[in-house]
């Protein structure tokens, strides 16, 4: 399902125009992004939990440079699907 199909489905289920749907989606994702950027975890019913994990800086060998380097810390986004959704899609064949 690509962005276009997603927006269409979204507009249909909320009974709004495609244009409005696109705008609302943009605003919603922005709020979700900003929330996570504040390092707050968020859980959406029937979808699951999102949280930020901070990976510490470490030193590692970088093959591209051929040298050992200190890798800066970074944040990664972790998603844990809700149990209900997980079970529902457990037996869905993957294409």
């Amino acid at each position: 399902m690509n962005t276009k199909e997603f927006t269409t489905a979204f507009a249909e289920s909320l009974k709004i125009s495609r244009k409005d749907a696109a705008k609302l989606l943009q605003e919603t994702t922005r709020v979700l992004r900003e929330t996570l950027a504040e390092k707050k975890s968020l859980s959406l019913q029937r979808l699951g939990n999102f949280r930020i994990k901070t990976l510490k800086s470490r030193s590692a060998y970088l093959p591209a440079l051929g040298q050992k380097a200190l890798i800066p810390p970074r944040d990664v986004i972790q998603y844990q699907p809700s149990a209900g959704l997980k079970n529902k899609l457990k037996n869905t064949p993957t294409p």
Binding site: M1, E5, L24, L25, I52, S57, L89
Partner: protein, 346 residues
Amino acid sequence: MTEKITIRELIEKISQQAGITKKMAADILRTLPVIIEEGLKKDGAVKVKGLGTFRLKPVKGKAGRNPRTGARVQIPPHSKIVFLPEQSFKEFINQPYRMLGYQILDEKKEAPVDEIPIPEPPPPVQPEVKDEVQESHEPVPVPVYAATMRPPEPPEDPPPVEELHRGKKKIHWIIPVMLAIIVVLSLVYYLRNCERDEDSSQEAVVSSQETEVEAVEPVSEEPPAEPETELAVEPETPEPTFNIQHSTFNITEGNYLFRIASEVYGNPYLWPLIYKANQEIITDPELVIIGKEILIPALEGTPDRLTPNDSLEISEGYRLVYEYYREKGDPKADDFQLVMERYHPK
């Protein structure tokens, strides 16, 4: 970090941001999972613009055990849901670190990262430098190093071979104690230096300090080093002024970054913050120009309670100092790298 946003807060935020009713916002949040589920059922992948892609991933069947009973069970092949955040989302999340890049470590010093935490950062005491560039341009403005004293170097050279043979435990214990004693000495020296008239008895201070170092180091195996540091630190912070705003500071004679930081932040070890904020004016951390006005950056938290952002700023400052010394080939660079890592928010 584990702070959680409630659904209600989220709805409120969305309704404010998009200028819609709360009911509508709640509807949006209710609809999203439904559509994602539909999409996953339909073709196994859903792209949500602004967030990323939800995808079904096949998992092979495998033998497992019931963690509660220990009974063997066969886990059948199934699909699991994975979320792949899009590039812009990742970048957005990592904005605070965007200034940080890879740092190539020399072959020689691979150890510092794995080393045990050192009790106190080596004191970056900055020798004061006078640079008379105020009005008269007749003399060539060559920076005159009024004082050539250096902060006491932590023991860089490896411990003697006999000690190595005795076992690792002992060495691990000795290094922090040695460092603690050096820190105490330098604090004493710093305090004393504050009281004295800078011009008159520089050399005397240096020589007496050196003798002290030599005298005390053989006794370094004594454990009660920790309380001493605490005692010495307390008078160090005279008046912690909190809620410092961005301000300026006029450099007067006899001042250097270490002391300025001590005055404005109440903690001399925050001096790289000032160094970082005044990169154009100050190139050499040991050299400040009398009469120049420098910017004192504000802290988000207090000097006692730094916010992660503050720590990051300080760490950045130390990184600049580390890079400066590294370029010069000064062994002090290693110390600053350690401090940089210490201040880095975990």
